[in-house]
Amino acid sequence: MNNFWLHPSLILLAGALLLPLVPAALKKGYLILVPSLLFVRILFMLTNPGEFGHVNFLDWELRFGRVDPLSSVFGVIMGLMCLIGTLYGLHVKENAQHAASWVYVGGSIGAIYAGDFITLFLFWELMAFSSVFLVWFRRRPESLAAGYRYLLVHVAGGLALLAGMVLNYKATGSWAFDHLAVGHPTAAIYLIMIGFILNAAVPPFHGWLPDAYGAATFNGSVFMCAFTTKTAVYALCRGLAGMEILVPLGVIMALYGVVYAVLENDSRRLLAYHIISQVGYMVAAAGLGTQMAINGACAHAFAHILYKGLLFMGCGSVLYMTGESKFTELGGLWRKMPWTFVFTLIGGLSISAFPLFSGFVSKSMIVAAGFEEKKYWVGFLLMLASVGTFLHTGLKVPYFIWFGKNRPRKETLDRAAEPPWNMMAAMAVAAFFCIFIGCCPSALYKLLPYQKEAMEYVPYNGYHLSETLQILLFTAVCFFIFVKKLEPEAKISLDLDWFYRMGGRAFRWLAVHPIQAADTFVGELYRLAGLAPLMITSRVAALFDNEVIDGAVDGVASAVRGVGRRLRLAQRGQVQENLAFAFAVAAVLLIVFVFFVHKS
């Protein structure tokens, strides 16, 4: 066993490949078994850190398994979320959907444990190319288009990462994916950063996220909300911790998501904008780069995967049961889906960092790291963003779906009911962990990379509790005062994806109008200047052909026929006669030659 090291992604990839061979009766068991094996494998790796899975490829050594505290904390939560997400979609019949999500998670986990850039890139691209199917499987025309946009943006980001890592290899002579020299960033480091922050959905590279997550299948979004952005957060913590520019970018992100969430009418797009907001905390923490900040980023990513998964499961259940995800089409569902409401509320309270819920013990770590670093503006603006978080996810989502004054159509209300048992169970498991982490933060803190810092941090003290409760409760007061102002509007908000959506359209207009016109012009020119003279020439040629050439040919032919007829009469098959003729002709030719040609 010493030389053999089972890569956790292999469990998922092999599991996905074998899925079509599994008999229908055993399908559900198999769907639970594979992610369970993955989770057990990752927990086992937790007890046995080190460097594994070295493979020689060309002149380079690829390192598939770097197991240290930073990769392990992300590995554990991703293994757990894979299990919860698969349980949530257990009743989905289509094998390909499960296979796509497993390959996607496999890519994400492979990137987490990668020790060098080549391995990282391999799994990074695997993620993009498998997750797009989770959008396409919804099989609506919008989803097809959104999937293509998602793929194009991620390919562009992947290319930036590739260019950066090649330049970095030229400069350093090493593919190792370790902490880069962020103090003096070179073009290589900026390109790598662009590759990472595109996956983390940092503005201006964030348009793909609400676009794709709002268009994906009900359970595809549950997977997508957990893996792509958090893998990027891991990569930032690993490679670019302490890079100054990430701090303002993270703070802008945190507020940007909040502003768009006010305007959003689609519940799942609202949650997607709140991913941007929450990942902003983590990006800012990676930029701060202190031990406390990195602990905070890891803890928040851990908590975020659970509560955001829970929120997407709640809104996904509403979509699955009613077919609607827009606030203007929903309302008053509490009678029909009370438990879904409770679970979503738990997710909302966790993301809002309510005491005793998971967000409280992770988010406060990042804000405190900002204040401790004497970056007061970071602390204050992140506090403001958390006001917005509670306003939308804690209040707006539950209120307008389950209560609210909007009256959904009768068919929507008739269809509404609690979702199947497996979806309820998945939400219950996620909700349990949200509360468990909130009540026993040390269970999470034990996993964090900087143990000493983590153990010293005390989330529950009088000041923190008073500060958080006042902010949240007075946000609630403000919400109920201005609830009319927040009534959803059946509109969409233009975001920066406008540039490439309209850019694509401009390209097509260019293709249809100027380029097509030029083509038509050239065609017309050819017809007038080229084709017409050609036709005239050919008509003349035809005339010449008919009258002159045919005449000559016909004349020659009739002459030959006439001569032939005469010859036939002369030709009677007698050898002597023939010879005599031949000699005569030869003699005549000879005489002609001597007299006319030779003399001259």
């Binding site: 305007l263 009370p338 007061y376 917005g388 007061v477 969409i492």
Partner: protein
């Protein structure tokens, strides 16, 4: 279906629920004003403080100010975002359709 009954029960007594909420808010403010100790004692450090650092020191001294921060922050987010949205960012749903 006990959960539905519970929500119905609370909805029927909305006024009482609201009154309890106000009392909780009041107790929270009283607690924050008189009993919460600042995390770091004020006046720590010798370097000159910037405006935000001073503001933070004031917040640490008077935790009750976070209530105002929460209320005003929420109002700011609602009104600023809506103004931004109505400045041309929000548009008809079939905007991208052809």
């Amino acid at each position: 279906m006990n959960l539905v009954k519970l929500i119905e029960f609370l909805q029927l007594r909305l006024q009482a629920v609201l009154r309890v909420c106000w009392v909780v808010l009041g107790l929270l403010l009283v607690w924050s004003l008189f009993f919460v100790k600042p995390e770091h004692p004020p006046g720590e450090g010798t370097e000159p403080l910037g405006f935000l650092a001073q503001a933070y020191a004031v917040f640490e001294r008077w935790p009750i100010l976070w209530a105002i921060f929460g209320f005003l922050g929420c109002a700011l987010i609602i009104f600023a975002s809506k103004a931004f949205g109505h400045a041309g960012i929000m548009t008809r749903e079939d905007y991208y359709d052809e």
